[in-house]
Amino acid sequence: MCLAIPGRVLEVEEVGELRSGKVQFGGIVRTVRLDFVPEAVTGDYVLVHVGFAISRVDEQEAARTYELLQAMGALAEELGPGEDPTPDRRPS
């Protein structure tokens, strides 16, 4: 459920009490409601579900944990891409 994808805020617009902005997803741009992320500004990444941003991506947190994951991945590659890293995995 809950298909939400990350996009970059290109500009923010406030019309009365409503807050919206242009958000870029890959190569397309769409107007997204930013009412739930008052802290999001141009350049931020937000997660968008049904045309509403539901969170602002915590880029520092993402970078921190991803670094660890990348190290894991690099180590596994070093062991040899041809090796099966899960020797007792279920047959496919």
């Binding site: 459920m1 970059r8 739930f36 049904v50 045309g51 539901i54 947190e61 891409p81």
Partner: protein, 365 residues
């Protein structure tokens, strides 16, 4: 695409799988709650990467699948009225009601339109003042705030031709019902990351404590799910039972406060029927009294058609994770995506549809 592609990295995924394999000393039964997570698991073959002992059971986190039959029947009845324009998320169009579905209703001349966002339903209402626009507003806690905003805007503007047929379901009561069942085999949960983005994960801490089960709030990409499984396995191997947040780039403990505020303003908690499961108390949302003029249930006089669930559909057991879709005798034979007997075969992230689309060939071998 940033914050998407990195979490589909093959090397990282395989490394996580290897780590899980090296840590697991005994079999574990885990459930991913959210249909979107099920979809990813099937589409990327994540269960193929896991060691034999880790079993993934697919939970009821598919709001499309659990929308009550009556709601579908009501939506179809409304759509067939000549004065009504029914606007719906795409997912709902093929879900079978008792006798028909919205797509068939459209084929018979009903004015049924797809919207990606509730704001588009409002646009249709504003552009067509002579039509009664009904928006079929389904979803979990993730979608409810956006649906709530639509009602809030409609009320503020004084729209007189816009109503919503609401079916919102809440996740924690469903988990509680699952865990309370004597047939429960689940030892650890991957909690739904986008639901928790909105509501935070305090309720999951309560559940984890009450039932002494580990839970990890997980994202939706292959790396997210594998990392979540790794975190669960680590806890289980160490005999721990607490809530961890894998999806910290989006989820915070308190969740999204502005979203929670609009939810509280527009909706209140109510008992809710779950298709295939039955009624779960305090597991849904209904409009507050002041929003009655926007509640299609109250505005329209809807004679309830007798709802009939096909006897053969075992979605009740599938949604509770007690059976796999392939255990169902009708799966792929009498129940297919073109001729579904129940909702999990129709919804793109229903367990049955996911199995059918992505993994059917396993049974061919």
């Amino acid at each position: 695409m940033k914050y998407l592609d990195e979490y589909r990295d093959g090397a990282i995924a395989r490394a996580l799988a290897a780590e899980i394999a090296s840590l697991a000393t005994r079999p574990w039964v885990l459930m991913e709650i959210c249909g979107g997570q099920t979809h990813t698991i099937m589409r990327y073959g994540i269960d193929e990467l896991l060691p034999r002992g880790i079993e993934l059971v697919h939970g009821p986190g598919c709001p499309v699948c659990v929308t009550p039959l009556e709601t579908i029947d009501k939506a179809i009845a409304l759509a067939m009225r000549p004065d009504v324009t029914l606007v719906s998320y795409g997912d709902m169009l093929r879900v079978p009601g008792s006798h028909s579905d919205l797509l068939r209703a459209k084929a018979q001349g009903a004015d049924v339109r797809i919207a990606y966002s509730p704001t588009e339903a409002l646009k249709v209402a504003r552009a067509n003042p002579q039509r009664n626009v009904v928006f079929l507003a389904i979803g979990f806690e993730t979608t409810a705030p956006a649906n709530a905003m639509a009602a809030w805007e409609a009320r503020r503007e004084g729209l007189t031709n816009f109503t919503m047929l609401v079916s919102h379901v809440l996740v924690p009561p469903a988990i509680r019902a699952l865990l309370a069942s004597p047939q429960n085999r689940i030892q650890g949960f991957i909690a739904p990351g986008h639901v928790c983005t909105v509501v935070g994960y305090q309720e999951y801490e309560d559940l984890s404590r009450e039932f002494n089960l580990p839970m990890v709030v997980g994202g939706f990409e292959p790396v997210d799910l594998l990392e979540s499984i790794l975190m669960l396995v680590k806890q289980l191997e160490a005999g721990k039972a607490c809530v961890e947040n894998q999806y910290a780039r989006s989820v915070t403990y308190a969740g999204n406060l502005p979203a929670q505020r609009i939810l509280a303003e527009v909706f209140e908690v109510a008992d809710q029927k779950w298709r295939g499961i039955g009624e779960i108390s305090q597991s849904g949302l209904k409009f507050r009294e002041e929003y009655a003029p926007f509640d299609a249930n109250r505005v329209f006089d809807l004679d309830l058609i007798a709802t009939e669930e096909p006897a053969e559909c075992i979605s009740a057991l599938v949604l509770q994770g007690l059976r796999k879709p392939t255990d169902c005798p009708a799966f792929g034979v009498r129940c297919t995506p073109e001729a579904p007997l129940g909702a999990p075969m129709v919804s793109a992230e229903g367990a049955c549809a996911a199995y059918y689309h992505y993994r059917r060939h396993k049974e061919c071998e």
